[in-house]
Subunit: 252 residues, 2 copies
Amino acid sequence: MNKELKKVNKNALNPNVSVDCVIFGFDLEKLTVLLIDRCRNKRDKGIKLALPGNLIYTNEHLDQAAIRVLDELTGLKNIYLEQVGAFGNPDRISKDSDREWLKSIRAEPEASVITVAYFSLIKMPDYLPQASSFAKTAGWASVSEINELAFDHFEILQAAKEKLKQKIKIQPIGFNLLPEKFTLSQLHRLYESILEKPLDKRNFRRKIQKLEIITSLKEKQRGVPHKPSQLFEFKEVRYQELTQNGFDNFGF
Amino acid sequence: MNKELKKVNKNALNPNVSVDCVIFGFDLEKLTVLLIDRCRNKRDKGIKLALPGNLIYTNEHLDQAAIRVLDELTGLKNIYLEQVGAFGNPDRISKDSDREWLKSIRAEPEASVITVAYFSLIKMPDYLPQASSFAKTAGWASVSEINELAFDHFEILQAAKEKLKQKIKIQPIGFNLLPEKFTLSQLHRLYESILEKPLDKRNFRRKIQKLEIITSLKEKQRGVPHKPSQLFEFKEVRYQELTQNGFDNFGF
DNA sequence: CCAAAAGTGTTGAAGTTACACCCATGC
DNA sequence: GCATGGGTGTAACTTCAACACTTTTGG
């Protein structure tokens, strides 16, 4: 695996194909996404925020490229990753501010490049800002407050949200966004944030518990100004099972 | 639209990106797929069957490229088309027979190319074989009998089947595979072929009828050696409605 | 003692599954 | 008249949606 990576990195860039990553997080209140701010000085105009991404290497597997981008930006490995799809509208680099920026970072800034988008789920506290070759800074933004992004990244974000929405109805991947120990209310809010609609508290709890995917710990919340909540962790075995097979009937 | 196409065709090829199309049909018995046979003479060895596909043009929208490939092969326009995803395993052109073939049709046969797969649904009788620049012959194959294809096309076919399976549970796109006038049994067999499992006849009929997506014609089947079946057509308006919104609860 | 979120059951409606027999036609 | 697929209803069960009050803690 290490050997392979080394070999890959010696290869040339493929000037026509990039990957972009929609990295979702959850701050226990709402869904967030990791964006890079490409503003190099205060006078830069245009849209500043973009999804992390980069050209792929010749002979690099697309999935590998996404893993690499993720690793370069966050230092994280083994995280949940899924392809959203390919985006190939030739207008995607038509904004002036986007072209300017490309000139500063790419050898062939005018090449027409299609991009393959991925979304990934990480536990927010695991992310520690990392020196990155392609952006000065990266930071979390609340998904629901984003109105525009560079290139076609807003469109990609919408597609990733939609994919996540569909996926979470079928597989219990939401746990990748939560800490090891979590409360049912946190899980509840997570589902509401992703599905963008309210879910009945009692019905939600019942449904989750019937899946037998979580075990209650002996531990409780401490220091909260209200009745402390039971803490849970999810059952690894059952998680694998449901992640592979999915459930047919999870009609949120 | 015509002007745009002309402009596109003047552009150069993007040597690193192709599209491949999984064109599904239904022969009223089972699901089929349109494959090209690249065997130029009897002595060619290796796997002969492949999905139709081709490189895209610089500045050509991916979706446009898929529409173009489809049109070149079948002469059909305005057909149901959906992206399956991007496939970028560098090993995808590693088979010797595949490389040989590429040498005969591509300017840069060794270029590493990622491909974006689409699936589309057509009414089998609409397809009339067409002279095509990239294959002598094309023909229908029964999906369930396919064991191997050129490149990574078998993997792509599996992904397309899976996507279709998921999609048909949520949107009534199956009608694109049927003639204008069809029987409930034909629709029933179609769903069974796609989902690859038996569905109870009575329950299936009830479920479909409740959707109010079909209207029964005054006409009946003729010349069949058994009780003639009622013919139906689907309601365009309601179809559009369900195709856009989907249905949440269609738990086959 | 007040504010805040945790936790808990029941009921009526809707949907799902399983299942067997008669019917209309061509040959 | 027989082989073939078309067409139909019901009952048991499961799932879903809606809904309100008590509990425990910190301040």
